[in-house]
């Protein structure tokens, strides 16, 4: 329908705004978790992603994801609607094209925010030790070769969508980005830390969060923004959006409790870092599933995701990879939990609702393919950058603090004694 639905449009404008806010929320969530000497760099990885990905999305991101010229179901032609031209978003008279009641230009904004946050998620694995320039280049390459194709495959009618080859088994479900966003980012994080290596002192020195209220506030902003992420993905201001909203919030609530119980039993303490992490784990898990569960199913999913992720974040110590802020433990594991549990919990087609195994099987296939593609693409980009620009800052910069070394700043005021030296060059 080419007629504008102003209620839907209002909701999508809000949803886009909410999802945009998630990235600074993430910056705070991550920033609070690193040591005080690296908080600015940590936040700058998110803010840098907001810069480059925001530009790239308008230039070729939309065209590669949702353009009309699919290349083998893997990605769409980046040049077709380059710079939002080509008549895909605006008609000849420059008017915004309306599709299903929504001006497509609003959808562009909404989708751009997903690209930004997905890239930013990865940075959690790279805390305290990575060159800012390499990161920015990585962001451009990865969003181009890993994210836009995955969005095309899952949501743009490509390989992993309802129009793809696996849909014969059952229609695969990724409501708001379990594969595209979380599995994708989680795999990328794992591959990168293996390439880049650990922080100096990892596993020996304590690396405690320098500001836990920031972590909690960041988690809260993520929760808030996630309403746009999930309920916005209903592309309607209607009952489906309402269901997604309630499932999202309920899963987050349940995952807090799932995580805290797990910690309390294991460590004897229910921590604030656990509550904040539980929130994110629940939100991740419910992302692909928000439209397919009953609210009681969302409670179950949240409890399981909270508990499993609480266990999974310890793996890095076991296996010795420095996934510094647990992108793997929370986003990969949480994304898998959500993607696969849809097979059981979906009210329409899930095993527990008499739907048989088909949905579970297709969900596992989808997840596996996504892991494979994301892994290979990230590996190539990661190794290429290692060979060329290099990933790591110098040891001195890392030990002395990356904020000072790379950004020339200290996050917090400290004892006086600075002298203004250079005349400002204006």
């Amino acid at each position: 329908m080419a007629e504008l639905d102003s209620g839907l449009t209002a909701w999508m404008l809000v949803s886009a705004s909410l999802v945009l806010l998630m990235t600074p929320g993430l910056a705070l969530f991550y920033g609070g978790m690193v040591r005080g000497k690296a908080v600015l760099n940590m936040m700058m990885m998110s803010f840098g992603a907001m810069g480059v990905v925001g530009i790239v999305y308008v230039l070729w991101g939309w065209s590669m994801s949702y353009g009309n010229e699919s290349v083998g179901g893997l990605f769409a032609n980046p040049f077709e609607q380059f710079g939002l031209g080509g008549g895909g978003v605006f008609d000849e008279s420059g008017e915004a094209i309306i599709s299903d009641g929504l001006p497509l230009i609003v959808d562009v904004g909404f989708q751009a925010t997903f690209a930004i946050i997905t890239v930013a998620l990865i940075s959690g694995a790279l805390a305290e030790r990575v060159k800012f320039s390499t990161w920015l280049v990585f962001a451009v390459l990865w969003v181009t070769f890993a994210f836009f194709p995955m969005a095309h495959m899952v949501w743009g009618g490509g390989l992993l969508s309802g129009d793809g080859p696996f849909a014969g088994i059952a229609e695969p479900v990724d409501f708001a980005g379990g594969t595209v966003v979380h599995i994708n980012a989680g795999v990328a994080a794992l591959v990168l830390v293996l390439i880049i290596g650990k922080r100096k002192g990892f596993g020996r020195e304590p690396m405690r969060p320098h500001n836990l209220p920031f972590v909690m506030l960041g988690a809260a902003l993520l929760w808030f923004g996630w309403f746009g992420f999930n309920a916005g993905s209903a592309y309607g201001a209607d009952g489906v959006a309402g269901l997604a909203w309630v499932n999202t919030s309920t899963a987050a609530s349940a995952a807090i409790i799932g995580w805290l119980i797990t910690e309390k039993i294991r460590d004897g303490h229910a921590t604030s870092l656990g509550a904040a992490s539980g929130i994110v784990a629940g939100l991740v898990a419910v992302t692909p599933a928000a439209g397919s569960l009953s609210p009681v199913g969302a409670i179950l999913l949240g409890l399981v995701a909270g508990a499993l992720c609480a266990l999974a974040v310890g793996l890095k110590f076991k296996f010795g990879y420095d996934d510094s802020l647990d992108v793997v433990g929370v986003h990969l594991v949480g994304g898998l939990v959500g993607t696969i549990m849809i097979g059981f919990l979906a009210t329409d087609g899930g095993l527990f609702y008499g739907g048989g195994f088909n949905l579970t099987v297709v969900q596992i296939i989808i997840a596996a393919v996504a892991i494979l593609i994301s892994g290979v693409v990230t590996l190539i980009i990661g190794l290429a950058l290692k060979a060329t620009m290099g990933w790591r800052v110098s040891d001195d910069a890392e030990v002395g603090g990356i904020d000072l070394a790379v950004h020339g700043e200290a996050a917090y005021e400290s004892l006086g004694g600075a002298r203004k030296t250079t005349e400002v060059k204006a």
Binding site: P206, R208, P209, E263, R266, D267, G268, H269, T271, L273, G274, S277, A310, L311, V313, G314, F317, D326
Partner: protein, 112 residues
């Protein structure tokens, strides 16, 4: 003159300050410190990793006194800071050659 330094539990600071005032001490310098000693540190937990933190918050008090007052000031601090629990801290005395008051440039006991 002497410099009496006390490292005490933070929550005893107010009482020590009052006791010193009552004993006629008119000035002191206070700063934050962390102590390591017999007192067992606490455990912090972050995402399943447990850390033992063996540096415990303390407060350092420095009081410049006339030599003859060093012993009594020490006793005042000990008495006021004491809770009887491990970790109560130490008080020590160091000889001082000279003291100057910045505002006036006075030296010696007058500068206290």
């Amino acid at each position: 003159m002497k410099l009496v330094t006390g490292v005490i539990q933070p929550h005893r600071l107010d009482d020590v300050k009052s006791a010193l005032e009552a004993a006629g001490v008119r000035g002191m310098t206070v700063s934050e410190a962390s102590g390591y000693g017999r007192q067992r540190g606490h455990t912090e937990v972050y995402r399943g990793a447990e850390y033992t933190v063996d540096l415990i918050p303390k407060v350092r008090i420095e009081v410049l006194v006339a030599s003859e007052d060093a012993a009594s000031v020490t006793e005042v601090i000990v008495a006021a800071a004491q809770t009887g629990k491990i970790g109560d801290g130490k008080v020590w005395t160091v000889p001082v050659d000279d003291v100057a008051r910045v505002r006036t440039g006075e030296h010696g006991v007058d500068a206290l």
